[in-house]
């Protein structure tokens, strides 16, 4: 009986130590990855409208040149501001594509952020393409990129 209770106590002590050690091994594993990721550059998650925060120092974000379009003038240049610009066939868009039957009501969004202009598809039927590749998530635009919305092609220039 005495022997049994010693072995129970011994087992409990071993389990107690093992529990704490394993717990810290777990934490160490998670921290290792977290600290590695924290060193990579990142955006802020304060999502304030960019215009307000940066209007004083940020340069103009660039412009869109119409390459081909059913209703817009070719080579027309549209200056982007720091406000996001929505594009689509519907009347509530900042830029309306009236005769473009392949454009959705709310089609895409040009979103000027601190690190440049991003394009985002707003769930359009026919998709938004950058240099012929269909967007699956917001994408950072580089100067000279061709953005296709419906049957309208824009060239982004900084």
């Amino acid at each position: 009986m005495a022997l049994a209770s010693t072995s129970v106590d011994g087992a409990l002590l071993a389990l107690k130590i093992a529990f704490i050690v394993l717990l810290y091994v777990f934490i160490w594993r998670v921290i290792r990855v977290a600290s590695r990721e924290m060193r990579t550059p990142q955006d802020s998650f304060v999502t304030a409208p960019l215009a307000e925060r940066h209007e004083k120092r940020a340069p103009r974000p660039g412009s869109l040149v119409v390459v081909s379009s059913p209703n817009l003038e070719e080579n027309e240049r549209l200056e982007l501001t720091h406000e996001p610009l929505t594009v689509g066939r519907g009347p509530l868009n900042d830029l309306q594509l009236l005769e473009d039957d392949f454009a959705s009501g709310r089609h895409a969004l040009f979103d000027p952020r601190r690190d440049g202009v991003w394009i985002e598809d707003l769930g359009s039927t026919n998709g938004t393409f950058v240099n012929g590749v269909r967007l699956t998530s917001p994408r950072h635009l580089a100067s000279g990129d061709i953005v296709r919305i419906g049957e309208t092609d824009f060239r982004y220039e900084r």
């Binding site: 002590l13 529990f19 704490i20 777990f26 934490i27 955006d43 304060v46």
Partner: protein
């Protein structure tokens, strides 16, 4: 190595931790070493394996550490609940199964695009209100310890406010995201719907004496408002309103005054009148009995604790030393059995969960996801702070659950839905990269 394979490996580690913890409780209880003690860890491991497989199919690129951290906290919580009372543990085990089912259900339903939830924002706002209001209804509403937070249908008890919290965060994020341009300019009329829904929620919470949740909702509101507008002014105004509101509630509500007195002066040297008793007794034997005994329990743990299963939680007569030990006060039970080393580890896991959540908000591609993710994570962190801060007497104690650990079905289910939401947002952000 893919994100899910990494998750599986770390889940195996969680399984080992669960096995050691439960074996310790089981051996201490039975006073003999037997292999049965491992069956429980086996059950847990299979359950999380199912969650893992669902995640593998629905969110293959999502963060690898969220599910293991939630699994670990739930397992530790359930182990401690079993240690305090095996019957409660059985019911809680059932709730964890339901929680994992809710997790899987959320992932499967929303795997294509959770962002469509944004268009149902008013539905979320109103259902948040509905859920908060349910316990106040006659017949199904039910009070526990002076706070009317429960809904009872048959033998099933549920605290709908926990789900209301998530619905409210989705509403706030969706509303603020769609209106952030105009809100930042500060025209009062744009705030109308926002203040109406949120104000009603605060009223319901204060009226039902759910001060912990009221504090939580207030904090979440200010945090999301700041994240969406970057105007510190709103936070400042909010804090001033909070102080004014607190002072008002303090003056008018005896219940709140008692909480503050218990917080500041839990011990008295002289016997004072005790509500509900005719005899005079010191406050630590009366109104602050629970808090003081919980502090003694934390102190008894010392540096390395008594070991799981070996703490003292019952009176020599067999009654419970601390009321509500497995819900609001589970932290002090764990502090006694795991000691400073162990409880610090658990706090670290909470902190890391929060860090991962904010990290996902950072990399999320669109504003709505960022706000939902940061809002949910902030709510999780603030809730942990409110209850632990209350237990260690940093702030006045308000009864609220410790996420993933406390006994309580609604809390477990709500937190698993929160976990699923973070993983969905993480999946979308990582997919894009």
């Amino acid at each position: 190595m893919s994100a899910r394979t990494r998750e599986l490996l770390i889940l195996i580690l969680v399984g080992l931790i669960t096995a050691t913890g439960f074996a310790s409780v089981y051996i201490a209880r039975q006073n003999e070493i037997s292999p049965e003690s491992l069956s429980y860890a086996g059950f847990f491991f299979v359950l999380y394996l199912i969650a893992h497989v669902v995640a593998r199919f629905t969110v293959p690129d999502a963060d690898s550490y969220l599910l293991p951290m939630a699994a670990l906290l739930t397992a530790i919580g359930l182990t401690e609940i079993y240690r305090l009372g095996p019957t409660d543990a059985l019911r809680q085990g059932l709730w964890v199964v339901i929680g994992v089912a809710a997790f899987a259900g959320t992932l499967i339903t929303l795997r294509h695009d959770f962002r469509r939830l944004e268009s149902y924002k008013y539905l979320f706002g109103l259902s948040a209100l509905g859920l908060l209001f349910l316990p106040a209804l006659p017949k199904i509403g039910h009070s526990v310890n002076g706070a009317r937070l429960w809904v009872r249908i048959g033998s099933l008890q549920f605290q709908p406010g926990e789900l209301g919290k998530i619905a409210m965060i989705v509403f706030l994020a969706a509303y603020l995201h769609s209106k952030q341009e105009v809100l930042a300019q500060g025209r009062p009329k744009d705030f109308g719907p926002l203040l109406a829904i949120w104000g009603c929620a605060m009223l319901v919470l204060v009226a039902t004496h759910d001060l912990g949740s009221a504090l939580l909702f207030f904090g979440i509101f200010l945090a999301i408002l700041y994240l969406a507008t970057a105007r510190l002014l709103y936070v400042g105004v909010g804090l001033v309103l909070f102080l004014a509101g607190s002072a008002g509630v303090y003056e008018t509500t005896a219940h709140v005054r008692d909480r503050v007195t218990i917080w500041l002066h839990p011990w008295t040297t002289q016997a004072i009148p005790c509500p509900g008793h005719t005899a005079l007794m010191p406050r630590q034997e009366c109104a602050s009995y629970q808090l003081v005994k919980s502090l003694y329990s934390i102190a008894a743990g010392g540096f390395s604790g008594t070991g799981l299963g070996k703490g003292t939680f019952t009176l020599p007569s067999g009654g419970n030393l601390i009321p509500d030990l497995n819900t609001d006060f589970i932290f002090s039970a764990l502090a006694q059995e795991l000691g400073l080393v162990g409880i610090a580890a658990i706090l670290l896991v909470f902190m890391l969960f929060t860090v991962r959540g904010f990290r996902i908000a950072l990399v999320a591609g669109d504003g709505f996801s960022k706000l939902v993710c940061a809002g949910l994570t902030f709510g999780f962190a603030l809730q942990t702070f409110i209850i632990i801060g209350g237990i260690v007497r940093l702030i006045p104690l308000t009864g609220i659950t410790l996420p993933f650990i406390s006994y309580g079905g609604s809390s477990v289910v709500a937190n698993f839905i929160l976990l699923a939401a973070l993983m969905l947002i993480s999946q979308r952000a990582n997919e894009a990269a």
